[in-house]
Amino acid sequence: MESGVVIFMRRILIAIMAGLLVALVIRVRGRGGVPPQIGGWRKLKDDELRNWPVN
């Protein structure tokens, strides 16, 4: 016969592992947006604004 404490601990472990599994699936398969990895803000020059293309 297993004690109540062991059953409780086992349930916690199962819950944590299930959580990790879900997190892993979302991390690998998720399609969330990716923040900018390269590049940055650049000041627009006056000439660039003056010659801005118009469609």
Partner: protein, 327 residues
């Protein structure tokens, strides 16, 4: 030319200074509910300026600029239109923007332009959205975000907006959203950087949608902290600061260039009250310049045909535009 300026707060005082420095302006009447403030601003401008507490427009007035607290601008704008005078407003309150846009026919009948929300956001954001659209064949999404506030009236409106319902344009219809929802990490020009932004009572979509036919999604967000969101439903717990010194806006325009999908991002980092004043004053001077032929009717800055010239005059007054390059 004679100008009547309503409001002598953080933004109004700066508008007065910019208008005063223009040679074409021969007289500025500064009107404010605070006698001390209007006298102080008028006396700092020199001989061109007078102060008054009257809300009468006067028949010889060439232009009216309204920079009073939100909610009080519609009455003044209506008075100016009835007097046949062009008006520039700076409001960023949703209901007031709706009310101002609703007097479009009245403005057209009087043959005067009514510029709705010539400020930081909306205002400069509308011009940047138009700039992005110029580079694309077709625009289907516009997303704007802001960080920071101008003077105390702007800070109060900012606080109120976070607990007000947001209006988004989605797939050809208006959608009401809960203020403070829809967290999105937005990257503003440095040194502001990345900040969590949320929906709020922001009128940008109301001004952008009519000017971009075929646009599918228009959203507006504002940067807020956890404390801002937690206290948004309460009265302001402390007096707003005299002026928010750091601010930024970010405009994202998505669309197509031929068969290629393009995303353009523009930003400005600056002092919000200063930029609002530059945008409002530049718009006022732009209207007074007969060459620009600003059309009669009520519209935001994205609807001005000579928008590029207006943007160049804003840049010429020291506002740095930035664009994001990267992936």
């Amino acid at each position: 030319m004679r100008v009547v300026l309503f409001g002598a707060g953080a933004t109004g005082a700066r508008i007065a200074r910019i208008l005063n420095s223009d040679e074409r302006i021969t007289s500025i009447r500064v009107t404010d509910s605070s006698a001390a403030r209007r006298v102080e601003v008028a006396s700092s401008l020199g001989l061109k300026a007078t102060s008054s507490n009257s809300s009468d427009i006067g028949k010889a007035t060439d232009l009216v600029v309204v920079a009073t607290p939100m909610g009080s601008q519609i009455g003044l704008a209506r008075k100016a239109i009835q007097a046949g005078t062009p008006v520039v407003t700076t409001t960023c309150e949703t209901t007031e923007v709706q009310a101002l846009l609703s007097i479009r026919e009245e403005a057209q009948f009087q043959n005067v332009p009514l510029i709705v929300s010539a400020g930081f956001m909306p205002g400069l954001t509308c011009l940047l959205a138009r700039l992005g659209a110029d580079k694309l064949s077709y625009v289907d999404e516009i997303h704007v975000a802001k960080f920071g506030t101008g003077g105390p009236a702007c800070a109060r409106q900012h606080h109120k907006a976070l607990s007000s319902s947001a209006i988004d344009w989605r797939d050809g219809r208006w959608v009401r959203r809960i203020g403070g929802s829809g967290r999105e990490l937005c990257w503003f020009p440095e040194p502001v950087g990345g900040l969590d932004c949320y929906r709020g009572g922001l009128p940008d979509a109301l001004l952008l949608v009519p000017e971009f036919s075929g646009v599918c999604r228009v959203t507006a967000r504002m940067a807020a902290t956890r404390r801002d969101r937690f206290t948004a439903f309460l009265p302001m717990l402390r007096r707003p600061h005299p002026e928010g010194l750091v601010g930024a806006i970010r405009v994202e325009v998505r669309g197509w260039k031929g068969t290629e999908r393009r995303v353009l991002m523009f930003g400005v980092q600056c002092c919000p009250a200063e930029v609002t004043a530059i945008v409002a004053a530049s718009t006022a001077l732009h209207i007074l310049d007969a060459d620009n032929e600003v059309e009669a009717g009520a519209r935001g800055l994205a609807g001005i045909r000579s928008h590029r010239r207006l943007l160049l005059s804003i840049v010429g007054r020291g506002v740095w535009l930035e664009c994001f390059e990267g992936a």
